[in-house]
Symmetry: C2
Subunit: 212 residues, 2 copies
């Protein structure tokens, strides 16, 4: 979500929402306050620090150091917003102000990396969703098509998918109605990658069928 700058510098170019840090708030409080001036922050399903951008010449004039955040909103909500802000596709970005273009690139990269190893995918989906919707989100974020079969199996194994029993309304061209799922709170909370080198005891001893 970008907004179009009205004043110099970089007038009429698109910009990420943000602003100055006050003396009595930390950076996360600040970014939520900045965002609240544009949209309803309660819709935010995920917020995390991305990185500090601090090149001396990244902004003309006095020195400005930026702490960039990655924020996600479920795909079914379109928060009320002022006239100068608009949603943009990350693949077709307009000319952007300052170094905001590289910030977006970094955010996209981070999202893709974390998607398949964490629960972050659920931050993109509404409370109840179909596997197909989830598949579309994953495909878009990762840049390649993922199979619905694998997605469901992987997430089910981690006890993250819980069927609601309901089914989604069928599409305009027919087809079997998709089952609805929700994010199971009893599932594994994953904010870090799973370890490839696991602790001992997570495997099974080989049953020695026994050559003599």
């Amino acid at each position: 979500m970008l907004w179009e700058r009205a004043r110099e510098p970089h007038a009429h170019r698109w910009s990420l929402p943000g602003g100055g840090l006050r003396v009595d708030e930390d950076v996360e409080t600040s970014i939520r306050r900045q965002l609240a001036e544009k949209v309803d922050v309660r819709q935010l399903s995920h917020v995390e620090q991305l990185a500090v951008f601090s090149a001396p010449d990244r902004v003309p004039g006095p020195r400005v150091v930026a702490t960039a955040f990655l924020g996600l909103v479920p795909s079914d909500v379109d928060p009320e917003r002022p006239a100068d802000t608009e949603w943009h596709c990350v693949d077709t970005l307009p000319p952007m102000a300052f170094d905001h273009s590289s910030i977006v690139q970094r955010a996209r990269h981070r999202l893709g990396s974390k998607l398949s190893y964490t629960n972050l995918g659920f931050a993109l989906a509404p409370p109840e969703f179909t596997i197909s919707l989830l598949r579309d989100h994953y495909s878009a974020a990762l840049g390649y098509r993922v199979a619905a079969t694998n997605l469901q199996r992987v997430l089910s194994r981690r006890l993250l998918l819980e069927p609601t029993g309901g089914t989604a309304p069928t599409g305009p061209s027919g087809g079997r109605p998709a089952a609805l799922f929700r994010f199971s709170a009893k599932g594994i909370k994953v904010t870090d990658p799973f370890a490839v080198l696991r602790p001992p005891g997570s495997g099974r001893p080989a049953g020695g069928s026994g050559s003599p």
Copy 2:
């Protein structure tokens, strides 16, 4: 590596190296400059942004926002350093100044997370090393014992291990001399987790043995 503060506030408490950002440098340049006042920065094998710490009261007096970094040094080097600095074990830290204790915790967590999914392990090892040494480093950083067999297989599959042909001197209690390896530059450079949901084409089609 910590240094003992001589002056108030928090005199005689241990502190992470750091200092103010100059107007003509970015944060990474700055942290390298700060560190250069203590040790030989050329020994640093890895440097990455960790997080911003910005609680309004994290430092008494005027507001200070910190960008924390994670820096690694190979285990065989012990850089020259002034008298007021010292290496400490992360499990037994002394009373620390400001919020530096939580910064260290965060860094330790990050190291463990990234270790098994990236090439970061090599930043901890000397140019030539044995599998046992690598195993010890991984075990220490992850907090549990990893098997040398698995470690070697996992890293070999990623084409990261390259035998030098030499062997390490045998220990005081005998034992087979360990083969030496080096980090292969032709291996896969991994800074992000491997994707669990892989792109299509990475699996193999099922050979239909064919029920009628």
